[in-house]
Amino acid sequence: MSSVTILLFWPFIGAVAAFILGKANKKMAFWAAEIVGIALFAASLMLWINYTVPISIDYTWFTFGETALPFGIYIDGLSIVMLLIATGLGLLDIHFAHDYMGEDNDQARYYAKVLFFIGGMILLVIAKDMIGMFVGWEFMGLASYLLISFWHTKSAPANAGMQAFLYTRFGDVFIFAAIGLLLYFVGTLDLVEINTMAKEGSIDHSVALVIALFIFVGAIGKSGQFPLYPWLMNAMEGPTTVSALIHGATMVNSGIYIVARLFDFYASTEALLVVANVAALSAFIGATSALVQREIKKVLAYSTMSHLSLAFVGLGVGSLAAGMTHLMNHAVFKALLFLAAGAVIFAAHHTKDLWRFGGLGKKLTLIAAVMAIGGLSLSGIPPFSGFFSKDAVLASAMVNPDTQGLVSVLATIAGLLSIAYIGRVWLLLFTGKPRDEALYESVKKPSFLWITLPLVIMALITLGLGLYQSEAAEFITGEPYVQPHVDGLLIGLFIGLGLLALIVFGLYYKGLKLTEKISNHPFLKIFHQLLFNGYYVEYMITWFSKNIIVASVAKAATWIDLHIIDAIVNGSVGLTQALFKRLKVTQTGLIGDYAGMMVAGLAALTILMILMEGA
């Protein structure tokens, strides 16, 4: 069986198997998922090791008349990196869930959904055309909804799931429209061909711009960019394993992936500049909001948004290599941070409030250490992987004359602030005195095999990746990699990082009292509230949809639905009932009547036929 077949079908077969086996025996669901996870990762590794030229398999779903719907497979360096991320982190995540979800009664459902999700992600990154890509995209959207609202009997996760579904769906509609436009104006859905055509300049410029922007709206929804990000924060209501895999490491990357996949197409229009500007703004919003969150996972969610934006900035300023390496590095260290946070949350009996922790470093030393590695990588400290790609993104932004101004400034601020928010989380979790003694006493060291081991593996990868940045960039882009360089940038960054680190250390290690005073100051409280609520974008969207869309458009549509559509449908009941009564008379149940009808019918039809033929 080829690797491609395994990658395409096993997740879905595994999902069904995990569900059925899990219904019989709780533990079996985990093992089914783990085995499939290993197989998928092994298949991705095989593809990587044997990779020489892109694999391209053409398949036509069906041809009907003139319309042909393709369903091809295309695997190049970019796909393989995404595959390794999806299946590798997927496997570690499944492994981690053994304990994390161990007490849950509905494991069959959990693992089935996770495998289904991985299947969607794989389909997305190996699809050759927009059809397969869109199917994978929607599969993930569905899986994300199902997993966020995994604990569907509680109202918060159920609402968060619905919100995620609606926000991302808003973007998906635009992708669907883009597919239609592509089919109509460009005549192909083949992603590779679209790039080639864009390079040759054979796509009408304004059409290309509209399509690129439509696809980017979809990417905004999926990757939590301004203004469609609030769902990502509320998605933290789901299990932490889900947040790590879907809302930290894989699904949220898909928006960036699709822009990267169509990079030549984007580069042929001004859409890249739009990408860069929206992303820089999102990076700033994410980084500043992350500074004041109370819940560990919310900090990480805003930081995810901010770092995804940095990857987008990388693409937007024209450097595919910088954007994608940052995406790759981020996936690993963010999964690490999420799962490390999950380990702490798990050890502390599902407490998420940062202010109830403190001093855990003594009890959870190893977890504190791996989380520090993740945090340093996130902050961009050498030699951790995050340093190289973040530096490359910022340098590329400053080199590009179109983005030297606002984009570079916002992105740099976002890049620097990461040390502040992650440092704050780490200090509040692991240092100082326990702020909740009872909680502190009850914290137990989690199992090494099931909880800490995956974290250690990810920490090692984070360390190791730092050594292979230019190789990774060359593998993804297929071109020689030149590290962008700006004089003085490095020094500036270090000074900035150092200062911020000192401030955070002072505020959250030395002077917690002072911090409290500052945050209670009435004037500063306004800022605190603004940041805490993510710049109130969620409220604005809710207000707009409630007062503008629901109150006017939806009201009008409801009136039409009630008084016209429903009236017709309801009226049809009377009509069909009347017809039913009359037609029923013909079904007497007497064979004599039936025979009579048959003969009479024959006679009538024959006479009609004779009349027609005679005429």
């Binding site: 069906f62 041809t63 069909t576 039913f580 037609l583 039936y594 048959m598 024959l602 004779i610 027609m612």
Partner: protein, 438 residues
């Protein structure tokens, strides 16, 4: 080895095997062997019979569905296996017939075996259903022979390879034969017996009659009559379209307010006969043969599946009416799901075979310029969701009656899974059927 000889021989030998398990195994082996022979290019192999890739695909489907049916059968259905093999043999011949003579003979052969099939009577209701079918069938045979006589009298050759007539007499003769055949297709005005018979004979027999026999006859008739249909003028085509409209509307409306599930399915079968007539009327379109083939393939899977599930439900839980179905989803999720998927396919929900089948057949109608017909067919399709969804509503959204759990034999479940596989496969992969004619 000739496909016909293989199945016919198997059917002849089968009554000698008394042990049911062995008999089932034997029948499955015969079907498997036939399938292998088919894949090697074997056909009926007689004069006046000819195979094409169009026919071969449907022959394979008939063999698969027959295998699923045999897996479903129970100890009491000993004779049914023999009759099923006979029907399969006759179906192959009917599908491959190339002249009017071989067509009529094999058609009558299928009819006669169908009579034998339903005469396996266990109670008064089944007897009533069987008698009704017999009377109607006898009358239809008479009509067909009358048409044949007229055809001969007007000086035409039974053995001409393409049915082409240029005189009114021959035209009328062929039209009368077609109406006689409509009895098996349950098309207005020859449909009245079907609603009673399908609902009254055992559900397994109803599955064979309404799924296998109907689709085989539809396809074979289309194949033989295509040159004749293509010759028809505008008005006769409108007449066919009118028959299609009447048949589907009548079937759907009569199904809407029934209480008995079997009766709903019987009327839905009549409604589907109306859809099957669309490609006949749309013969001018190049998509018509594909459309009919797709409807036949989709229909043979979903229709036999619903009747077989109903048989299991009736046998184990005494389920006959919609009220009996209440809460099936809670107690028997697996069978509820199997039933629901096939019902959705009948209703034409996307990603199931029934959807693409309707889409292609309707497209053929549009292609042939029969807009009004297709508009009515679409409305009918919407109407039909009314009763399919109504069944599903009873399965999932009503309070459970106290009822047992289906123990179900494994082989019957396997049969269901094969049929489910067909419904899903042809709902997703359309290339097999679209590719057959190109």
């Amino acid at each position: 080895m000739s496909l016909f000889a293989l199945l016919f021989g198997g059917a002849l030998v089968s009554p000698l095997i008394k042990n049911m398990a062995l008999l089932k195994l034997f029948a499955l082996l015969i079907l498997l062997w036939s399938g292998y022979a088919l894949s090697q290019g074997a056909g009926v192999g007689l004069v006046f019979f000819e195979q094409s890739s169009y026919v071969r695909l449907f022959e394979a489907v008939v063999l698969i569905v027959s295998a699923a049916l045999i897996l479903h059968l129970d100890k009491e259905d000993h004779g049914t296996i023999t009759q099923l093999l006979f029907i399969a043999a006759a179906s192959m011949a009917l599908l491959e017939s190339t002249t009017l003579l071989s067509f009529v003979i094999t058609f009558e052969a299928v009819s006669i075996i169908s009579f034998v099939l339903v005469s396996n009577i266990k109670d008064a209701t089944q007897a009533e259903g069987a008698i009704k079918m017999f009377f109607a069938g006898a009358l239809a045979s008479g009509i067909i022979l009358f048409g044949l006589g007229l055809f001969a009298v007007s000086g035409h050759d039974f053995n001409a390879s393409a049915l082409s007539v240029d005189d009114t007499f021959g035209m009328i003769a062929l039209f009368i034969i077609l109406i006689g055949i409509f009895y098996k297709l349950t098309i207005f005005p020859m449909h009245t017996w079907a609603a009673d018979t399908y609902a009254q004979v055992s559900h397994t027999n109803a599955a064979i009659l309404s799924a296998i026999v109907k689709t085989v006859v539809a396809l074979a008739t289309f194949k033989i009559f295509m040159p004749f249909l293509a010759q028809l003028g505008e008005m006769p085509i409108y007449l066919l379209a009118a028959l299609a409209v009447i048949t589907m509307t009548l079937g759907n409306i009569l199904a809407l307010y029934q209480k008995s599930i079997a009766r709903i399915l019987a009327y839905s079968s009549i409604a589907h006969a109306g859809y099957m007539l669309i490609p006949f009327a749309a013969v001018a379109s190049t998509y018509a043969p594909t459309g009919l083939l797709y409807i036949a393939v989709a229909y043979i899977f979903m229709q036999s599946a619903v009747f077989l599930v109903l048989e299991i439900l009736r046998k184990e839980l005494e389920i006959k009416t919609l009220d009996d179905l209440k809460g099936l989803g809670q107690k028997n999720p697996l069978y509820a799901l199997l039933f629901t998927v096939q019902l959705f396919s009948l209703a034409g929900i996307p990603l199931l075979a029934g959807f693409i089948a309707k889409a292609v057949a309707f497209y053929a109608g549009v292609d042939a310029g029969l807009w009004p017909l297709i508009m009515i067919a679409l409305l009918n399709s919407a109407l039909s969701v009314g009763y399919y969804a109504w069944i599903v509503k009873h399965i999932y959204f009503d309070e459970a009656q106290t009822k047992g759990v289906i123990t179900g034999r494994f082989t019957a479940l396997l049969g269901q899974l094969i049929l489910l596989g067909g419904t899903i496969y042809f709902g997703v992969i359309a290339a097999d059927i679209f590719g057959v004619l190109s």
